[in-house]
């Protein structure tokens, strides 16, 4: 835990200073999680604030300070899901992949320093994995991200989702298999593209 139990207790009792301490302690972690769950850096701050607002209004429902972290993760997952649902409704919004492409193009236009190359590579990875994760439902995408990217254990996920470990394992397995199939398909597609490009090049050379 990043804060002591008594700070959580004080915040529960309505101490604004204690609440501030909690926000300061968890701000970066929540930013990171939200960033990975929603995939849009420009909306991370807004969703993170939503998480803390929900925390402020639901602290009195917290059974004990020991379950504070799973509780906070649960609020984060719910806020991310609500954001993703709202975003799905807004048709005019650009797709994650399109936005990443824009970012890649912007990075291309920038100077080709080593830092830029690194940044471009990261943007490419993000775009690629986001495309793979787009093949599963938002709920499964979040679950998979928490497990595989955030590195949460099954025990932690059990506390967050309040379902038994076996149910989680089945859900995770299915989601991972779907992503794996999407990955295999992408690789096959790229290999086919690579072969046809090579053939075209050899034909033009001849």
């Amino acid at each position: 835990m990043l804060v002591e139990n008594d700070i959580v207790e004080r915040a529960r009792a309505g101490d604004a200073q204690a609440f501030n301490e909690i926000v300061q302690a968890y701000r970066r972690r929540i930013f990171g999680t939200v960033s990975r769950l929603i995939g849009r850096p420009e909306d991370v701050e807004d969703v993170a604030q939503e998480v803390f607002i929900r925390l402020y209004y639901s602290l009195d429902q917290l059974r004990s300070p020991e379950v504070f972290e799973p509780w906070l993760y649960r609020l984060t997952v719910n806020a991310a899901l609500d954001y993703l649902r709202k975003r799905r409704k807004r048709k005019q919004e650009a797709r994650v992949a399109d936005l990443s492409e824009q970012q890649v193009m912007m990075a291309d236009a920038a100077a080709g320093s080593k830092l830029e190359v690194e940044r471009r590579e990261k943007a490419r990875v993000r775009e690629f994995v986001d495309t793979l994760l787009a093949g599963v439902s938002e709920e499964d995408r979040i679950l998979l991200t928490l497990k595989e990217v955030e590195g949460l254990s099954l025990k932690e996920l059990e506390k967050i989702y309040r379902v038994n470990e076996n149910a989680l394992k089945v859900r995770l397995f299915r989601a991972r298999q779907r992503v794996l199939r999407a990955y295999a398909a992408r690789r096959e597609e790229e290999a086919r593209k690579g072969t046809s490009d090579e053939r075209r090049e050899s034909e033009s050379g001849a």
Binding site: V23, S35, R36, V44, Y56, E121, V125, E150, Y183
Partner: protein, 120 residues
Amino acid sequence: MSGGNQNLERELDRLLAAYRDACEAPEPSADFMPTLWARIEAAEQGWSERLWKWANGLAAAAAVASVLLVALQMAARPAPDYYSSTYVESLLAQTDAELAPVELAGVPSMDPGPAERPER
């Protein structure tokens, strides 16, 4: 599980690890905390406003319902006779009912017959 699948699994694991590194969280802006508190206060105000509106609506609905109930009750019950008669008529009706002659078995009427009445 086939070897090809295992390779794919391993590649996916590597890709997800790279994704974790690639997803750098943006730095919180300087006005993160003030904005957060402003949003909390705005939400609180919104709730109290909603509660106030709800209470007002409830009071208005209760007033309308009581007026309707009174009107319904008045329309359903017919007005008693004493509302349409004069005071004297009501008094007479009541006195007549109270002073009706009592018939007692075996006791001759005290009222003398016309033959026994003294002539004037």
